[in-house]
Symmetry: C2
Subunit: 252 residues, 2 copies
């Protein structure tokens, strides 16, 4: 269902697309809107009783026991600049808990999917996160972060800067691409801030199901009544623990 | 010729590969060695009088008027971690000046190529760098940098940190991937340090031929007699000028 949106997305990257500026001053393209409508229509046809929560349109039955969460283009800034590291995110919540997740990266042709109790695959290849062996130097691990501007927005640039100072290989692999790299163990952990529900639900179930850990560091209601923001840290357990130390998250 | 190395590279990413640690403590895989041998053999067969300079094997006729420069896997750290943003670089120098360049990104299936006076294409699509219009806010441009550890190695972390502080959208798109993004205008400029000759020759001719600027900020002979390191800044002229201001490169 998610991969069915790829042709539309890749065509728009090649041929161009229009955009508008949303009320919150963020950038949205015609492709975000079209892909979310395509997924909503497919879900409504197959699961008429389920709820749907998406980034671009009003929620449908958000109180339903089963609720789908959609981010049609995660990484709009990348998409806008034709940087091929954007993705489409889909998750299914059961009473608010993510139980199924899909992260699709159209330009790479990579699709991560999995569900609680059923394991996680990338293009059919099973994924299993393991800690680096005790002999491995953690300095060889790559650690992913979002853009520094996300940290500016959330008032925690000290996290971004502390991690950059502490580790030689911190890379800004924002959004769905960084989440996928964490799932396949290419990055040892990812620290990502200012996310909305639809940015993290798929990743949460996939990381936990692959044997990693997913920590919600903060859930922040927004003064304007908009959806809450989340700061999260996830990946291989030992690398996540090390990042927690660097950020002094466990200090009394 | 360069794209002919893709199957070997992609197979190794999927199936695994061995590696060794070089005398300079850098990491080299069997794939680096095999790809460089493959390209050297193809070049020697077609251009028996030309010189060849490569990252992994001794130079052949480096004093020849026409000399090829090869980096079989640019982005070894990415390759090692199965981050799909590595590439193969090839350039032709005439009396030391790059006149032809190829940047191939196997995992993306993107190949940038061009030559002095003949223009630049990506997968056959012509590329032309233009300045943002005066109405465009430069804050919307993405600026690429190498890993902070490259800046640590070259003693100029102040550049990395100043750029991160000054611009909301600085991303660590190291190596060939960042160079390609600069060529297609996805990033407005890239600041990259500690490069060797084979890391920059293709990019130099391609950026200049696409209408961008390529500034060598420093050429540094190495005390151990190894190849000199270069710090470079390239991209759209107006964005490069702005980065020069941030780094205070033109202060008397």
């Amino acid at each position: 269902m998610v991969a069915a949106a790829r042709p539309r997305i890749l065509h728009a990257q090649a041929a161009g697309f229009t955009h508008q500026i949303k009320a919150d001053r963020s950038f949205v393209t015609e492709v975000d809107l079209a892909v979310e409508q395509q997924l909503r229509a497919a879900l409504a046809a197959q699961f008429p009783d389920h709820g749907i929560l998406g980034e671009e349109f009003p929620a449908v039955r958000p109180e339903a026991a089963w609720c789908w969460v959609i981010d049609p283009i995660d990484g709009t800034h990348s998409f806008r600049h034709r940087i091929p590291l954007y993705g489409t995110l889909l998750a299914l919540l059961y009473h608010g808990v993510p139980v199924l997740g899909v992260i699709d990266l159209p330009a790479l042709g990579w699709c991560y999917s999995g569900a609680r109790g059923l394991g996680v695959t990338c293009n059919g290849r099973p994924l299993r996160l393991t800690n680096p062996s005790p002999d491995d130097d953690l300095r060889h691990e790559v650690i992913a972060v979002g853009d520094r501007k996300q940290f500016i927005g959330e008032g925690n640039t000290h996290w971004f800067d502390a991690l950059m100072q502490a580790h030689p290989s911190v890379r800004t692999y924002c959004d769905a691409f960084g989440h996928g790299l964490a799932l396949q163990g290419s990055v040892g952990a990812m620290l990502d801030v200012g996310l909305k529900r639809w940015d993290l639900a798929a990743t949460q179930v996939l990381v936990e199901e692959a044997g990693g850990v997913f920590h919600v560091l903060a859930e922040k209601p927004q003064p304007d009544g908009g959806p809450p923001h989340y700061d999260v840290l996830f990946g291989k357990p030992a690398v996540v623990s090390w990042v927690r130390q660097v950020l002094e998250l466990d200090r009394p």
